[in-house]
Symmetry: C2
Subunit: 465 residues, 2 copies
Amino acid sequence: MLDQSTICAISTSPGIGAIAVIRLSGEKAINITNQVFKSPAENKKLIDQKANTLHFGQLVSKKEIIDEVIVALFKAPNSFTGENIVEISCHGSVFIQQKILELLVENGARMARPGEFTQRAFMNGKMDLSQAEAVADVIASSNAASHRLALNQMRGGFSKEIKNLRDQLLHFTAMIELELDFSEEDVEFADRSALKNLTEQIELLLGKLKDSFQLGNAIKNGIPVAIVGETNVGKSTLLNVLLNEDKAIVSEIHGTTRDVIEDVINIQGTAFRFFDTAGIRKTTETIESLGIERSYSKLEQAQIVLLVLDLANPVELMLSRLEKIKNRINNQELIIVGNKADIGGNEKIKELTSEIVLNDKEDLVFISAKAKYNIESLIQLLKEKSHIDEIASQDVIVTNARHYEILKNAHEAIERVSKGLDEGITGDFLAQDIRECLHYLGEITGEINTEEVLGHIFKFFCIGK
Amino acid sequence: MLDQSTICAISTSPGIGAIAVIRLSGEKAINITNQVFKSPAENKKLIDQKANTLHFGQLVSKKEIIDEVIVALFKAPNSFTGENIVEISCHGSVFIQQKILELLVENGARMARPGEFTQRAFMNGKMDLSQAEAVADVIASSNAASHRLALNQMRGGFSKEIKNLRDQLLHFTAMIELELDFSEEDVEFADRSALKNLTEQIELLLGKLKDSFQLGNAIKNGIPVAIVGETNVGKSTLLNVLLNEDKAIVSEIHGTTRDVIEDVINIQGTAFRFFDTAGIRKTTETIESLGIERSYSKLEQAQIVLLVLDLANPVELMLSRLEKIKNRINNQELIIVGNKADIGGNEKIKELTSEIVLNDKEDLVFISAKAKYNIESLIQLLKEKSHIDEIASQDVIVTNARHYEILKNAHEAIERVSKGLDEGITGDFLAQDIRECLHYLGEITGEINTEEVLGHIFKFFCIGK
């Protein structure tokens, strides 16, 4: 199943840089590089060099010097892939990078497929599948919270949890299957009440893991925040002010529907994905003309709803807006933002504060986006309602959609076991459901894998990893 | 003069990649990295490790793991900069790259300025100034010809030539100055006819180098080819066909004037910069309406003029176009392209061939851009007229505008020496001009440099080199 060829790829970001790194992996990685490498030291050959060493020299193609490079040698099995690895640091011109790849291919390497280095690391037992998947997440993560999750998973945090569950289940199934061997004797090796106990524990844990996906996904892609309110209440200004808080990466994602615009903003290490449900920042239409139904149709996707009110408006109008929104939201956190506090006047602030009765999922804050007044309080509320600190304290968070799907299946299987125990079904039926659960969990770590699954996982990697 | 601080920068292309490399240089490069590096092997410290070795471990900030990395150690003076260098290979997320930079800066490194690594290599005597300048050219080169020139210069080809000249001049000036010491005795240590001989040699060589700049510049930025002809003769189709020959990098450069459009096309390793003098590909105006003066106003910038004729037109009309163009060009190579050869008919091809008398700078070729007929012949002509092979066989080509300016000055100074010798001026005047020439040549290699010159040179580098 494991392809024995030596693969090569540009591993650094495409484009021009001071340097670029081209990576080879495979049995012949060092031999192939050796064929095209010329050291200034006479008679020095790469194949004679120790592992984990660096060598300066030239890459030469038919006597023409392609570049002056530094070559790094890693030897099997002590490398990322578990195979021989050569990393060539060259000058970062696109031309040189292409030339070197051509040279390596001419000399017996082949171009790597996306993620093929990591796939080989998995195949050679250097990491399990969930760790390999996390490598891509580590590279893609753009904020502190998602980075921490991905790195933890890459280092095996998630795998440990799954392996634990699997071990318990294996014990379980062994006992049941022992019973089946002695089925004519009607013995019970597996104490049913102890089993029931264990099943419930596993059910709880799988459920917790499964449920963590929503939060994990939010961390990975940004906590979804719906920003709602009339035109001209200052939503754009507010978003711009929050954007300025962001000293790191900013990106704009265009939603799948044309009328939802998303801004991912990192606020103090956590990504928030703000979306304007009515998309009124892009059109000149008002919420009214779009219809209240449509404008709030994306609300259910939000974890936090940010209602922006214009304190210049009459209090009754603001209260009616709030009422409408409250009728629309289900379980979400709500932050009521009184904007233009600098011109709205203290009277209205007092009146609103006394009129609005807040439940434990609601908060009221007065700011001025334009004057940048009290923005810190709003950010504080956003961070609290993101539950990012609770999440960070949790051991394991599921961030991967594939894992979520599998956990859902595993959870269903273990629920059937639990129900079966209650109904006193026979051991062979129990064993079947347990084995199904075991199978699913094995799919996460890669103990059970198919080429199709692997192909699907690694095709989303970048080339060179 | 040399800043002793330890500098750091991301050296690979900005953006997300499988891996990224962060580079430190300076006395404390290894110490700083050691402070934040944790090896899985207990008690293993980076500061105890040998030069040119690789080490796997974690970068840790206040007990939090930032990433798992490979650290490469180089020790002074055997490194690119001549200082201690550490190269950290990390996962290529933008977030991680930023985090690691922050961590290094917190621990005593400072962000490098553009080109500062190479500047340090120059300051520490690892390369002369013209070699250092060539590093940027190597990184920027996007075709085989310019790459070869830049790499040759980086490896010292140009410097050798300049050093040679300087040595000869130094001998020269020593003799003259010896005369000045004995001026009252009216001796001639420097044989004037031998000096005249040497001066002429140097004059010739400097002139050759100076003149090579036009070609060098053409190789670096593409051989300038003016493509002229009426609308609808097939110029766009021809450019597209040539573009398809290009398997590598294609870019479109918008000229400084709105009516000149440039396409840089790599043809078999050489860049050609095609420009349509009338810009008629962008407008619907004809050459006639723009006025013949304006349409051909850029012709003098071309090394090669490509006149495209439509064989569907009457022969007289084509001959008159050719006549007009011939009156416009001075010294350039001319390729007369009879297009639409597939529909133009053999009669016209015969007639044109017999009517047109070609001099040694002119060629006639019949093609069909649409049918892709005989394009190879046209490419062959372009390559011949680019003189790229002659250039490649030449030892040294000047590609750098700063060098060109200096060579021009040096050439003028040596011309004054030659003239002075003819006119029998006194030794002290001769010596002054020779010293001026020496000074200029020293500016190329950096033996004579000012902070201003250095600042100007390195500010165009990318950060991390």
